[in-house]
Assembly symmetry: C2
Homo-oligomer: 415 residues x 2
Amino acid sequence: MKATIITIGDEILIGQIVDTNSAFIAKELDGLGFQMVEILTVSDEKAAIDTALLRQLDRVDLVVITGGLGPTKDDVTKKVFCDFFGDHLIENQSVLTHVTALMERYYKRPISEVNKQQAWVPSQAHVLLNRVGTAPGMLMKKGQTYFVSLPGVPFEMKTIVVEELIPWIKKQFSGYHIVHRNIITIGIGESLLAEYLENWESSLPKGVSLAYLPSPGRVRLRLSTSGSDLEALESVLQQQINLLPDAVITYISSFEDESLEITVAKLFDKSKKTISFAESCTGGRLAQLFSSIPGSSAFFKGGIVTYATESKIDFLGVSAETIAKNSVVSEQVAVEMAQKARQKFKSDYAIATTGNAGPSKGDSNAEIGTVFIGISTPEKTFATEFFFGQPREKVVEATVLKGLELIYKEILKNV
Amino acid sequence: MKATIITIGDEILIGQIVDTNSAFIAKELDGLGFQMVEILTVSDEKAAIDTALLRQLDRVDLVVITGGLGPTKDDVTKKVFCDFFGDHLIENQSVLTHVTALMERYYKRPISEVNKQQAWVPSQAHVLLNRVGTAPGMLMKKGQTYFVSLPGVPFEMKTIVVEELIPWIKKQFSGYHIVHRNIITIGIGESLLAEYLENWESSLPKGVSLAYLPSPGRVRLRLSTSGSDLEALESVLQQQINLLPDAVITYISSFEDESLEITVAKLFDKSKKTISFAESCTGGRLAQLFSSIPGSSAFFKGGIVTYATESKIDFLGVSAETIAKNSVVSEQVAVEMAQKARQKFKSDYAIATTGNAGPSKGDSNAEIGTVFIGISTPEKTFATEFFFGQPREKVVEATVLKGLELIYKEILKNV
């Protein structure tokens, strides 16, 4: 089973927005056993859309198209989509009823002429209801290929995929599986990891492939295989994981596709310990990461972003003397920030960050790229200096990951 | 001048990571006058890469390829790239020297065999130096098309594009321009905007196109045109902007491609006022947005994420009685949070958020999707109730945008 994703929209093609829809759809289709052939973004002009659709005809089993279904003039997808099947548009009564109700409930106004157009769909289309928006999804078949057109607004697209498309796919296609196992390593580089894994990798059975996905501070190893017997496939991958060399196992933080913050969060949840943050150079990134983990209110007490030096003193309670003596980017300040966060949020653990992320220097003379991370635990408080270079985004990302790595090692001792 | 971007990597194709590289490159190429034909993601298998390269040959002027240049076995791009031009790999001395120095400086260890391979490039390639990483960029020509291969690690790719590729493009291509003007409207829906703009849009001169890009709470209008006389093009767009109907102008927050947080930040900077945040349901998103704006330390004092109810009381100083009497998701709590943030961070303005973002209820019985946003200014403090439905991510995003919209209206009065 093969699939392609087509994103329609000049705003993605000229880089005005990042295409997050394709990743979401790709992950779902991959999980359903589809081999992804390509992800394509084209302009919202008739010729470009037409060519893109035609190229997938009888080449794949399923094409998922997003974008270009809004009510305004620049959205031509529906017309091109309809023409591609030699069909004509008709007004769909259930969509019209839905759009009318939605406009009244959310916007407190009657349906406009522009909105009414959203109820027009190709006469042969199987309509996928958009419970949370006005543009419906449409499913049609030509030759051997199913084409699905979905709106581009991310939460509308996701709602239709989860509530309508996936159930339809499960009924229509079945029997073939692609299985992945993702292993997360932290604190070891891709090259060294590759050296440790050389023999193991060469001995992988036919049909099992390995991929390295490096990002700052961690490398994800992905083992993949495919076939019809799901249980047998999972067992083959587990056997290979059991054979991983010890030199690599010590660097593994998770045998599931789990980011480090999730691994850390689970350890906090399990051990009934709590955490808080005092952030300077990471500007709220740690708090935001933890607050977006479902159920985190059980262990995440809160965070303070002390962007101004005076907030570190007045609100968080770091001593003015410590800052004057050591500069705001220093081991001592990171230690005090972590201690104060732990006290004031009444948490068991705390992470503090203070650094010069660049591009220009702030209230400190520390070299740009220098960061101190403070860790406070029930047993001790300490801070470590790091140099993460430039650009700014790399410094912030590396600080967040290193902070998670440090707290991971501490909380592991108490689980 | 036409261009295509090709991203190579199974991790994007199966939805494991979002492709942010393409948006960055597309924006740069668009700014340099290239018409983007397509953005394509393919598997890191030889046949898929080969087919993708061949399809662009003599079809566009420039192809930018990212990904697949790492040192590990799953990265085959370089070999396929080299074969495509009928070339062979040679060891490049300047790359070798650079990689050796980099390994010593950052990793404090000698160059490994795996790293040495990064210095091998096609003999005919023009090498683009990767100052911040080990895999070099490579530029080659076949037929009428230039092909550039870049590493997939975002900050490495960006560094090479900015420092090496753009200067090369400016020398090689010149004379044609694509000009956009982006206008941001807030507080008006796409459909109503389209109705207000109908006559104006129908009267746009030939060669000028309009696109609507809606996201929750705001719609971006993009006017585009192209040609060789940059000044004339800019003047044509300005003329159309001058003709925009008054009914629309009142909703415009920016005549530049500027997000609302940047517009707000500029107003704070200009008026020498300061801001702080007390966040519950937005979990640090506001703080993170502001801390990532260059120069924000002049007006952004800090933020507190009071995720646990007790942090609202103990650390921020909201009265326990207010919470007990009104529930933690209430107008009164939002008001007190905003007041306390303003006091404790000693800022002129503050935004507070408290709500039930879902999917399950927290320490409050408010309906899921209910949010109160508190605003504190030198003159007054108030809070407003909103209902943003579901899913969770939409609630958080809508709360952030609505908070920015509310503070925007307040700070406007003082500029």
